[in-house]
């Protein structure tokens, strides 16, 4: 299990999972949060393309609410996937920095 099989949605999916890591958020809050933490502004079509895929795979789930703006939260499976992805990125980053001669 990983985000690699999501094609062009793998990067937006990772950003969404990271955004939901601290607390549940609805669509617009995710866009703002992702822009704040990464500088990337996800478009509405991209955001919901990734949300549909993450929901389908059971990585995130909607919360029951009366509000039209439906918040989403990470599932246990989503949390595990996020940990795996971040660890793999961390190891990749360390390798890159070492090759550049930067001490880590």
């Amino acid at each position: 299990m990983s985000l690699n099989n999501m094609g062009r949605f793998s990067d937006p999916s990772l950003l969404i999972l990271v955004s939901l890591a601290d607390k549940p958020k609805h669509g617009y809050a995710m866009i703002e949060d992702i822009q704040k933490i990464s500088g990337i502004k996800l478009g509405p079509g991209t955001l919901y393309g990734a949300i549909a895929r993450l929901e389908e795979r059971g990585y995130i789930e909607p919360l029951l609410t009366e509000d039209r703006r439906k918040p989403y939260r990470l599932t246990a499976l989503g949390e595990n996937i996020l940990k795996q992805e971040l660890k793999s990125l961390q190891s990749f980053t360390i390798q890159g920095l070492r090759r550049l001669g930067v001490s880590v």
Binding site: H26, Y48, A52
Partner: protein, 307 residues
């Protein structure tokens, strides 16, 4: 930004699931052209790759829904294949006895492109026959159990059409051999073949629409197989065959253009080439579009199989 008008372009299942929250999100966003364009790419993606209805179903309902979807993909696949194979046969009929033929036969690379076109069509035909047979066998068994005479009649029609057409072809080619020229007989044969394919395709489409696909294994030659799975893999092979054929035909066209002077030398029918070019362009365009759509349909179908 008010996005009600644009959200209407999303598929129905998407509307049901995400419309409210998506509109609520858009209301908080400022209007921008880049957002509109991004939503349009999302709409195309929703049609091609995602089926959000699956997210809302579980257990038996989910399996039923997926089998229904597979049935619909088989139906779409058959229509696409007919749209593909008809211009392919007509193109092949056009080549019969044409001035292009001698140039093509004497040039290896030109001949290779034509063989690629024929091999692609053959792969697609074999794969659709195997896949179609398994699905139809499964529906046939179900129709007998359910005593669905309306469906069973549809199984007989292509067989009768086949026998009538074979008898007619034999009559033309044997009895009328000296009356009708070979070129005309060849064209009649190709047209009858297309006609038989259309009749068969229409019946198979109706059978798939009316019949039901069950999530069960069938026994064939002493082996238990899951027909819907093999048929969807066959659909992928069909799409690959169609793509091989279309690409070869494009290469063939480029080579035909390269050898045009040799072709003109071996012909005394100047106007013939204008018809040939038009038919070639129309056939290639239809085959290109249908093979691309078939690729997407097979990809979606494979996704349901993976589920």
């Amino acid at each position: 930004m008010n996005g009600k008008w644009i959200v209407r372009f999303y598929p129905k299942s998407w509307h049901k699931r995400y419309e409210d929250e998506f509109l609520a999100m858009l209301e908080q966003m400022p209007f921008s052209i880049s957002n509109i364009l991004n939503i349009f790419t999302g709409i195309i993606d929703a049609y091609i790759f995602s089926d959000v209805t699956l997210n809302q179903l579980s257990g038996i309902e989910r399996v039923k829904y997926m089998l229904g979807k597979l049935r619909s993909y088989y139906g779409k696949g058959i229509i696409l294949f007919l749209l593909f194979v008809t211009p392919a046969f007509l193109f092949n009929a056009m080549l019969d006895d044409s001035p292009i033929l001698p140039v093509m036969c004497s040039t290896d690379v030109f001949n290779l492109a034509y063989n690629g076109f024929m091999i692609g069509v053959a792969i697609a035909l074999i794969a659709i026959s195997i896949g179609g047979f398994l699905v139809l066998f499964s529906i046939f068994k179900w129709s007998i159990l359910q005593k669905r005479r309306d469906i069973l009649v549809l199984f007989i029609v292509p067989v009768i059409a086949f026998l009538v057409i074979v008898a007619f072809v034999l009559y033309i080619n044997i009895t009328l051999e000296n009356t009708i020229p070979g070129w005309t007989r060849g064209n009649i044969n190709q047209c009858l073949m297309v006609f038989l394919l259309l009749i068969t395709g229409a019946c198979v489409y109706q059978i798939i629409q009316k019949g039901q696909l069950k999530n069960q294994k069938i026994s064939l030659f002493g082996r238990k197989i899951e027909p819907y799975k093999i048929s969807m893999h066959a659909a992928t092979v069909v799409a690959i065959g169609m793509e091989i054929s279309t690409l070869s035909l494009i290469v063939w066209g480029i080579l035909a253009n390269k050898f045009v002077s040799s072709i003109m030398r071996s012909s005394n029918l100047g106007i013939f080439h204008a018809n040939t070019l038009l038919l070639y362009l129309v056939a290639t365009l239809i085959m290109l579009v249908t093979s691309c759509i078939s690729g997407f349909v097979a990809k979606r179908g494979a996704k349901y199989i993976a589920e």
